[in-house]
Chain length 135, copies 2
Amino acid sequence: MKGKPVRRGVVFKSAEGHASNAELDALVLDVLGRVADKWTMCVLEVLAQNGVLRFTRVGELVGSISQRMLTKTLRDMEADGLVLRTVYPEVPPRVEYSLTEMGTSLCAAFCGVWEWAEKHEPELRALRLKRDARD
Amino acid sequence: MKGKPVRRGVVFKSAEGHASNAELDALVLDVLGRVADKWTMCVLEVLAQNGVLRFTRVGELVGSISQRMLTKTLRDMEADGLVLRTVYPEVPPRVEYSLTEMGTSLCAAFCGVWEWAEKHEPELRALRLKRDARD
DNA sequence: CTGTATCCACCGGGATACTG
DNA sequence: CAGTATCCCGGTGGATACAG
């Protein structure tokens, strides 16, 4: 599984020491499955753009997320070492969120996907329209 | 996508003509929400590595996917213009799948995420172990 | 302000059986 | 071989109410 001269340097594996197909599953299910969801990507972007943010502000910037999902997403990201959560013992309480190094690097990794989405969104919308017209 | 001197070239938006936060939602929900799921990424990888594949072979290479999800994923990808589906009118039937240009480019976009996952997987596993120990 | 706690609807996704 | 058709369960995620 190496000889393949896949066009355009697309495939990242296929070098010898790299992940086998068995490990591919583990990687996807364990890592990507927990880190590559919609809300995580949004929070990542928002924090990367704005630096340090309070709970409510993150929600505002993400836009359509519910409080429940915002809490859950931030908690999970904290547990996975993607965000840093700082609680100030004041009243009313103040909590600030920021990206860790790992969070920042993940955001960078998603950069290509954001660009792809932005670039191909019109194309996808066109396809969807034709489909809807057919049905 | 160049203006903002965000550290380490992480953020891709925030240039003037780029997506606002309102559009961010649209992009995520409409495009990424349908294209960035676990199985799509796996199928994308498998097809990028192996070129043209038959239905069953795709399933084998992905590994843990159920037939139901394989069918659904391939159908959705076809509808979104990511894969090309070719049916040969034979008996027994033969159907071949391959990536379109757009599918290939999406796979390339995910490359960074795969690399991130592979690189940080040990780090994430370590965190998870500490967490499990605490509970 | 920053959450937690419920209730609940929806659908992702596995197992299984059947078809052309 | 390449699917389609069901059943069914658990998790996602919204709405709402309450708490420190």
